[in-house]
Symmetry: C2
Subunit: 261 residues, 2 copies
């Protein structure tokens, strides 16, 4: 990354925190309130809060970086061939949100030439925030965090949103990993990736994800000592197939890539 | 319930809140700290926090009600043939606890002649507490809560800790219910029952539970307008088989009992 790019990243990190603040203000107003639930084509529940929060974030990006691209879950793509592209998920874990479970999160990522270089994971109810940027230590509520060492699957805590997110090829491979792991938990959404960065969970394995579901996690987990890739071991960007392995210990990651192929 | 029993229940409700306070103080000290994890025979992780919290609760019960029985997850049964029996789970959701997920909870139940008549569900990190007592409205952090109406499975949000908790007979029945529901989520532990009482989740279906996992939920959900039974539709007590249906709407509950048999 050039000096000029690094300067953009510095400013962008401040903006990313502002985006999460803006989203959180909207989301806290709607959490555990009666909100009209609108079903999209894919039948996932999308709330008014989701849309309002993305609108607030896009407004801030346009004001500060009008030349940057934006891809959001709610309002679609905008100049995503730009050098810098923001990837937004105002409420990752809408099922948790509408069920009153405070494990959903606002995800903000910035991609530089296609690679995620900045990520924010914000839980607006518990007010927990992870922020990671290329070449910097990942911070949790302002304090550096590190992944934990765990190279052995038999000692590993593995998370995933639901076993139903895997296709017929991946499902038995995931199940075999789950059987061999020390502990498997479902349903933590993006929050599970934050727990990898903080060293309480060893890996997250998921399928059927969209770029706004995983891009933020790449710099967050890398900056804490871990690694996030697709099932082939490549750093995921906008064009990935949505099958993601995040691990705190690179040795465990290598083992999981092998087992999933 | 006689007047004398009702007076015991009044005093017991105050004590139950004290028990949860005492457990919470212990648990907050250990959450997201490095704790030596001791595996019991059943391979479930049990922390030092769990044991210390139960010891603190038992001490308070013995001081106030020396004649009452106590059944705890950590220290076993004590006079469980008494008229009044306390059932304690200091950390329900130890897997969540050791993974840093704040959805575990302290469960306190009081049984009168075998029936759960008082229940507390306390999340000590987010400081959320549900308390329910026979004949009283269930309170969430001091405010009355109600379950929501939802008689239709196609509109229902169903929670369960993990699909792996069902046996070979129940699993396909649960899967069929999950397929027909609007939304299915795993991994919320006891917290999901609180969300039923508060009207954000419609049902919880679980298998392989112990009395300390479910007794507290009976008065909490009943006092909010819902119902908790075993798969045969009976109010669960110490002798139940650990297969539990909790629902906010009695009509949905009846439908689930039918589908699970």
């Amino acid at each position: 990354m050039t000096n000029a790019s690094s300067a953009v990243l510095d400013t962008a990190a401040l903006l990313a925190a502002e985006l999460a603040d803006a989203a959180g203000e909207v989301i806290r107003r709607y959490f555990r309130q009666s909100v009209e639930i609108i079903d999209k084509d894919d039948a996932s529940p999308v709330t008014i809060a989701d849309r309002e929060a993305e609108t607030a974030m896009r407004r801030l990006i346009t004001r500060h970086f009008p030349e940057h691209g934006v891809l959001g879950e709610e309002h679609g793509p905008d100049r995503i061939d730009a050098e810098w592209v923001w990837v937004l998920d105002p409420i990752d874990g809408t099922k948790s949100f509408i069920s009153g479970v405070p494990l959903f999160g606002t995800l903000v990522a910035l991609l530089h030439q296609g690679r995620p270089v900045l990520g924010v994971l914000d839980q607006p109810i518990s007010r927990e925030r992870w922020i990671g940027g290329q070449g910097r230590p990942t911070l949790f509520n302002g304090q550096p965090v590190r992944t934990r060492a765990c190279a052995d699957l038999a000692r590993a805590a593995i998370f995933s949103t639901t076993p139903a997110m895997f296709d017929a090829v991946d499902r038995p491979r995931f199940d075999a990993i789950a059987d061999a792991a020390k502990l498997v938990r479902f349903g933590a959404d993006c929050y599970a990736y934050g727990l990898v960065a903080s060293g309480f969970v060893d890996a997250v394995i998921e399928g059927s994800l969209k770029p706004y579901d995983y891009c933020a996690h790449v710099p967050i987990i890398e900056g804490a000592g871990g690694i996030v890739t697709d099932f082939q071991g490549r750093t995921p960007g906008l064009g990935s197939d949505g099958r993601i392995i995040a691990a705190g210990d690179p040795a465990l990651h290598a083992l999981l890539v092998e087992r999933l192929n």
